[in-house]
C-alpha cells in the first residue's frame, strides 16, 4: 500500500503541495471569485424582486385608473342621459305650447265661422220671413180680398215658421 509504504518519504511533500494548491484554490476561487458570483445571484434576485414589485404597483395603478375611468364614464353617461331627458322634456313642452296656440287659433277661427254661419242663417231666416210674409199677404189679398196689416201677417208667418 503506497499510501503507507511511501508515507515517510512523501508526507512533507504531500502536505506542502496540498496546502499550496488548496490555498490557491481558497484565495483565488473561494475568496476572489465566489463572492462575485454570489453578488451576481443576489443582485439578480433583488432585481427580479424589484421588477415584480414594480409590475405589481403598475397593475394596482392600472386598476385604480380603470376604476376612476369607470366612475367618470358612469357620471358622463348619467349626465348625457340627463341632457337627453331634458331635451326631450323641453321639446315636448315646446310642441305642446305650439299645439295649444294652433288649437286656440283654430278654435277662434271655428268660433268666428260659427258666428258667421249663425248670422247668415238668421239673415236668411229673416229674408225667408219677409218673403213669406209678402207672399202670404199677396195670397191673402188675392184669394180673400183682405188687406191685412203688415205686422199681423208677419206675426202669423213667424208663428207658423216656428211651429212648422
Amino acid at each position: 500500500m503506497p499510501q503507507i509504504a511511501q508515507l515517510g518519504e512523501f508526507y512533507s511533500s504531500q502536505i506542502f503541495w496540498l496546502l499550496i494548491f488548496f490555498g490557491i484554490t481558497f484565495f483565488v476561487v473561494g475568496r476572489g471569485m465566489v463572492p462575485k458570483v454570489m453578488d451576481t445571484v443576489a443582485s439578480r434576485d433583488n432585481q427580479i424582486a424589484a421588477d415584480l414589485k414594480a409590475a405589481e404597483a403598475a397593475r394596482a395603478q392600472a386598476d385604480a385608473e380603470e376604476a376612476s375611468w369607470r366612475t367618470r364614464e358612469n357620471a358622463n353617461r348619467a349626465s348625457a342621459q340627463g341632457t337627453i331627458a331634458d331635451a326631450r322634456a323641453k321639446a315636448a313642452a315646446a310642441a305642446e305650447q305650439r299645439l295649444a296656440v294652433a288649437q286656440a287659433s283654430i278654435d277662434a277661427t271655428l268660433a268666428g265661422a260659427e258666428t258667421r254661419i249663425a248670422e247668415a242663417r238668421r239673415a236668411a231666416a229673416d229674408d225667408i220671413e219677409t218673403v213669406a210674409a209678402e207672399a202670404t199677404r199677396d195670397i191673402v189679398s188675392r184669394i180673400a180680398g183682405l188687406s191685412l196689416g203688415d205686422d199681423a201677417v208677419r206675426g202669423a208667418v213667424k208663428e207658423n215658421l216656428v211651429h212648422g
Binding site: 511511501q6 504531500q14 496540498l18 494548491f21 488548496f22 458570483v37 451576481t40
Partner: protein, 260 residues
Amino acid sequence: MAAEAKLDPMHQFQLEKLAGADWNIAGYNIAFTNSALWMAIATLALIVFVAGGMKRQLVPGRWQMAVETFTGFIDGMLAANVGKNGKKYVPYIFSLFMFILFANFLGLMPLGVLGVHAFTFTSHFSATGVLAVLSFSIVLIVGFAKHKLHFFSLFVPHGTPALMIPIIFVVELISFLVRPFSLGLRLFVAMMAGHVLLEVLSSFVISGGNNGPIMFAIAGIPSFVLMVGICALELLVAGIQAYVFALLTCVYLNDAENLH
C-alpha cells in the same frame, strides 16, 4: 512475472518525484510529485471553471448557470446546517467541496486511453488528512474564539444527569476528537477502494483475454460489463464523498457557531 507486476492494483497509488527531488524546507523534502501535479491540475481546472461563470450577466448562460448552481448549493447547505452565520464560510466550503470534487472526477477521467495516467490524490490520506485537519482546526478556532472555554459545554448534551456528566464528557470528547480522522479516512478509503476495484476488474478482463477466448467469455466480458457499472457508481461516489466532506464540515461548524 513482468505482466503480473503491471497488474498490481496498488501501483496506481504510487507517488513519483517529477521534479525537485532535492527541494527541502527546513530539512523536509517537498519534491513535486505526480500527486502535486494533479493537485495543480485540479486547481487550474477549478479556476477555469469558476472564471467561466464570472460573466455576471443578468440572464446567465449555461456555464454561468452551472457555477451559480454550485455556489447556490453550498450557500443552501450552509444556510440549512449553520443558519445565517454560515454565510461567511461559503468561500471555504465551496473551495473544499469543489477541490475534492474536481480531484475525484479528474482521477476517474479515462485518460489512460491517451497514455496519461490520472492520479487521484484524494486516495492518499496524507492529502485528505490535511483537508480534514484544516476543517477541524477551523472548527476549533471558531469554537474557542466565539465561546471561549464555554465551548467545552459542547461535550455535555442538554439534559444530562449530573451523575453522568463525567462519563458523557469523556465519550463526547473522544467522538469529537475522532472527527478529523473519520473525515479524512472516509474520503481516502472510498476513493482508494473504488480505484482498486476498477483496477482489479480490469485485470480480470486482461488476464481473461490472455487465457484464451473461453476464459475471456466467462470472466473477461462479465468483468467488463461490471466495470462499466462500477465506473458509473464511482462517479456517483466521487460526488457523494465531496458532498459528505463538505456537509460534515458544515455540521461541525454548526457546533462551533451555534453552541447548543
